[in-house]
Assembly symmetry: D2
Homo-oligomer: 417 residues x 4
């Protein structure tokens, strides 16, 4: 498999695994490694990654450390939020949505430095390998992709440690032993999976959580927060205009404090197996609830229902790694078209792990108190229209009923087969 | 409009409005009225309805009071729960799902007593008139339907009271003044709407809630509950086998105590307007979460995703009153087919308004620790297969990328149009 | 119903029915009538409509006769063709797609002349009343709509004739007796329905057809035609660049000569009944086939399949009159996004009622002979990738099979329930 | 790759390619080969396959030759026809639908003879490998699959011939040279692809067609045929009751004579590339048209439209090889539910390559002349109901229009972005 590669751009976290990969690429492919480390809001110092890369012989001009937080939220998280996307009804896609951006930046760097390959540290069982590589191939069809976890023989943690020791790769003390679970983090969420989480009947241990307080330890007083939207995107919190990343960070702080956005999920991976994960999406959970609420007021029923029907497919595409696909873009075009008037404010109550919408208002509201009121509506709605409406909606059912009538009993349509 | 009607079956609650309707039907149509009062778990005494009907001259054998709670949950709520149906992403359809059963029983009674018409007390602005009448027409295509609210001139509360007084209809003291909102209740939920709820920016006042404690007043200790499923239906709580209605009642008790299942919603009515409602669905909210969790373990991805794509349509059909339609039945057939192996147990934590799944297990689990494990899987999964999987999934994107490539930059697919 | 109307814009064909309506509006509403006659390519002289309107006292500056053919094809037919829209799998929506344009122009004129109402000649049983009126209301929410067929008592042909005679409305000789069927025509199609067509078992008589020769009378020699596309729209025929309307007219000539585009259909109307119609869509049928063929070459699978899934809904929206709805526009945005690269040429053979695609080519082709070839592909595709692709696609089915295996026989999944 | 296999069941046609595979399996895996040859109506003698297998040392009791024609049509073709399935809008799935049956029978034989592997002759670029193998794995999750075309080095025709000569495998005279295209045939269709067909601009040469006469050579007289249906399945032709396979054969004869069912298609394969094929589906094309026609009369709109929306997905599942998947079965359950009353007769005119429905009738018809008639309907339909129907359907559009109105011009919703 070790055919000639000259220069490879590695998605490099600075951690043990990608450091081993860095060295392994140098050795196994005899190629130059370019490192790319993205700040997506994972909350880690990135400069140590630079030092480590230098230590392993990466040329300083080949060490890329980029703050992508604003681009991440503005061009990836927000478009997805416009769709109310939930994978399998529940998951806010925090890991999935970060991968296409990393892939895009890697390809940009590859072009810039004239690299002929890219590499990542995702394993061969997961979804992330798919997401990275579909991104690479879509943006640079002839790129070479190196996925060390599918190639090498460092198939156990002890072999990895051994390799690290043999090559003077620093091993964090806490990585000597097996970590009890694996995580991924960015501004939108932290995910945890594996090992102690592998029994789906066993409750997730408390030490797994890192982004939210336990709801039971959250404040006894609820907190009200107001989120303002323009064209479907959140633009302000409690009246303060914020950039996309700053806004999400603010909501994360609120969500963390109130224990919001924990999700214990058994999900279906694109590669065909079920896995169990724990997700913490504090700000994203608030954002999702708020976006639905502002749409309630400003989105027409036809648009809203079409969106609801398209959302599972859209979420599946992102989960499976098809961000850069014509069908995801088509759905995005439809969704974005619907958001032109999705402006206004939503008030939410945060309390002990829960987000509760308590009010929404908008200059673009389609809600008409005059029409809906129980009181005299001064002719805004003629109740007799409903008779014709029902009659014509019923017509096909009546024709059907006449055809299928038999005997004296109404057909039971409800018994289970 | 008052053409000749001989006998009409009225959906009769015993309350002021339907008592006025009873009298109005007798007077206006000069017809015999048959009353039908259903116990759907709304938590009201029904015998007073009998007394009132008798008082207004309904023949004793024409007063029908039926306990439909088990049928309601078994044949309506549970099939709907199998679908994970949520209207507009959030609403558990508690009112919608009761209407087809009432309509069905009314038609059965109409056949039994030889009535030529049916009548209901739903207004001309709401969804319930549609749901009742589509049910009537589907089950008895040539039935006459009388919807007094669309016909009469008792268009204000004072006229209604006046009519009641003029006809010796007892007026509950608290109905003299205008009620501050309107409610509907059954074993699945209580809905509230109108008047004090009509401003969607104003928080719902505390006195509106009747089925749940305020989460802030709920116990400070979380409570664990285990729900067991067979073929997609809940069959036991904490190890105790229960009938459908008893099970839902049990979950309602738990949900009430922990403040679970409140929903403040602005929704789109079938008749074309937006309205704001407050729903309380304590047990149903627990059931919904538990059903999704047991499906996570036992449902194949293909089935699960198809269900997720069909669910918005299915929910819309129920909301709009098309329970007795071929398309709802087709979707039900598909959904029920998927539930054959949906067996097992789910553990949930109830706390301060929240339902949190903390574990699930099943003899029919499709989750395979052996396959998914981070540790050595002894050949259960060959990571190299992933390379081919990705390559072929990427092929069309690569062909596309080659065609559309231009210049040195990867196309940005993410900018908003 | 005759409350005060000052000025009404009538969609006026100049025929007997709308002439009677013109007079009836003047009499019944005591209002000024403004006539609007559109040339949509129906192939009739329009100046006689002017003369007749003048005769009935319409002010010359209130007689609008507009040639809308190019707008019709460019802004309505072509966008719909991009979607490959077929109602109920077969119908090319020739009548449906014209109504929104007429409605739009009527509203424009109403604003221009300060009219407070619009009127049309569609009956109360059909779809066209819905299409007109949804268009009116969407574009001018407070407009008054007068639908004489739902209001007046001229419910039989003889009453209509009588009214015409009584008011000196000229009656074409062939309209004295009952026409044996009813038609609608524009540049896209001619539809025929009613009376002699009402028995769906009886073959449509030959005299019903007006736009196409009988296939049996078509030339014995097939004819080849080449249609060129840009961004999903046809732009040239046999190498000659043509405007949208000119292009459709050219294809109509070809289709007519070869007996192409006849459709005998029993369809489901939006108002709830089934009807039987005969459609002739000569050029549109060629266009539809050609568009599908050029998409085969230039559209990615993901985009193509998404379009196929959305097309029935899109067609239903147009059929039901929801052209000016957010959901139609959302779908259009998605569809249009997919058409950016749909360029190239399609060759078709026209013969005896059939359209047969025989070739297609494009500078934007995604078809790769190099990849697909049975011969040596020089490494363009690694067949071993297929093994991994299949293995991972099969994984969930294998897990399922293991769970559900019982006894020695493979489960039969095929028997009918 | 040659790990220990004891006994393998080969899908064996008796042709050159699978004969080479037979020998190669024996040599390469040192295993016993069991041959399975299915009569699916491909129109070839099967006994020569027996002789050849014996010649190559297969034990007589290990040679399986089964007539599966009735099962094929009854349990695979007919269920698919109920769905009106068309892949990419046009293709009747003739090859796709045969593969699951072959896979099923191979697995049955493998269990019967105690084989540990199965093998097929599909190449590594096509869809058939996927369809076979997904079938194998779904029905027998732990089966070993050998796909010689993905494993061996006989990558050119000359190497194949050489291998055959070296092993005394008889080579049909016409297989010495390269065949100009490749075919697959069964009772439903014949497909042709590759080589002379690889240029999608070049017209398919006449010698490619084998199942239909050229429409230009078809009879100058049209022929009428009547197809009768019960529960969605065809049961009689021109009044003669026929078994499923006999019926399809009869329609094939008719279709062949009239040049019906040719399709020149560029399609998207599941493995990610586009390919060009020529399909001939004479009887299936008639059946498809007839089934749609009988549904027009007997299927409710709600059912019909839901079917139309589900059909592309259903077709894709079959094309991609997911016959034995929960989601295909769910869709089948929905579709089959809709077919209970799809009975009646359809008359079609066959002429010069075209199938034209000219009439349909049914005891279960939902078409009501009384309701639809242009003449007096004696109160079957109240045209005034339409006013209310339209008003309520328009309500949301009016609220929208009011909100979005600006200035004096109606918004143009039609311009291309």
């Amino acid at each position: 498999m070790a055919d000639k590669i000259n220069r490879v751009v590695l998605a490099y976290s600075g951690g043990l695994d990608t450091s081993v990969i860095l060295k392994w690429l140098q050795q196994n492919y005899g190629c130059e490694v370019v490192t790319f480390t993205a700040d997506l809001g994972q909350g880690e110092e990135l400069e140590p990654a630079r030092a480590k890369a230098e230590l392993m012989g990466v040329r300083p001009e080949h060490i890329f450390i980029d703050d992508l937080r604003e681009e991440f939220v503005r061009d990836f998280v927000f478009p997805m939020m416009r769709a109310n996307a939930l994978y399998e009804g529940l998951y806010l896609l925090g890991t999935s949505i970060a991968r296409p951006l990393i892939a895009k930046r890697q390809i940009e760097i590859a072009r810039q430095v004239g690299a002929d390959a890219v590499s990542h540290g995702a394993t061969g069982k997961g979804n992330d390998q798919v997401r990275f590589e579909l991104g690479y191939y879509a943006l640079q069809p002839d790129i070479r992709v190196i996925a060390p976890w599918r190639e090498w023989d460092l198939t156990s943690r002890s072999k990895l440690i051994e390799f690290a020791e043999a090559h003077q790769i620093p091993i964090p003390r806490d990585k000597r032993g097996e970590a009890p679970f694996s995580t991924d983090a960015n501004l939108l969420h932290t995910s945890s999976e594996g090992l102690v989480l592998e029994d789906p009947w066993a409750e997730v241990p408390d030490y797994v959580f890192s982004r939210t307080v336990n709801p039971e330890d959250a404040p006894d007083q609820p907190q009200l927060v107001t989120v303002a939207f323009e064209r479907g995107d959140a633009v302000a919190v409690d009246g303060e205009a914020l950039s996309p990343a700053a806004l999400l960070a603010r909501l994360n702080d609120l969500g963390r404090a109130h224990g919001i956005g924990r999700l214990d999920l058994v999900e279906n991976r694109f590669v065909g197996m079920k896995s169990r994960g724990m997700y913490e999406t504090p700000g994203g959970t608030i954002l999702h609830a708020a976006h639905r609420a502002i749409e309630q007021l400003t989105l027409d029923r036809g648009a809203a229902h079409l969106k609801d029907e398209l959302a599972p497919r859209y979420a599946e595409l992102i989960y499976n790694g098809f961000w850069y696909s014509p069908e995801r873009e088509m759905l995005q075009a439809a969704i974005d078209h619907s958001q032109e008037k999705v402006d206004g404010e939503v008030r939410l109550k945060l309390y002990k792990g829960g987000v509760h919408v308590v009010g929404r208002r908008s200059a673009n509201s389609l809600y008409s108190e005059k029409v809906v009121t129980f009181e005299d509506d001064a002719g805004a709605y003629d109740q007799r229209d409903a008779a014709g409406f029902i009659k014509l909606n019923a017509l096909r059912l009546r024709l059907l009923g006449r055809r299928d009538a038999s005997g004296d009993e109404p057909v039971s349509h409800t018994a289970r087969r």
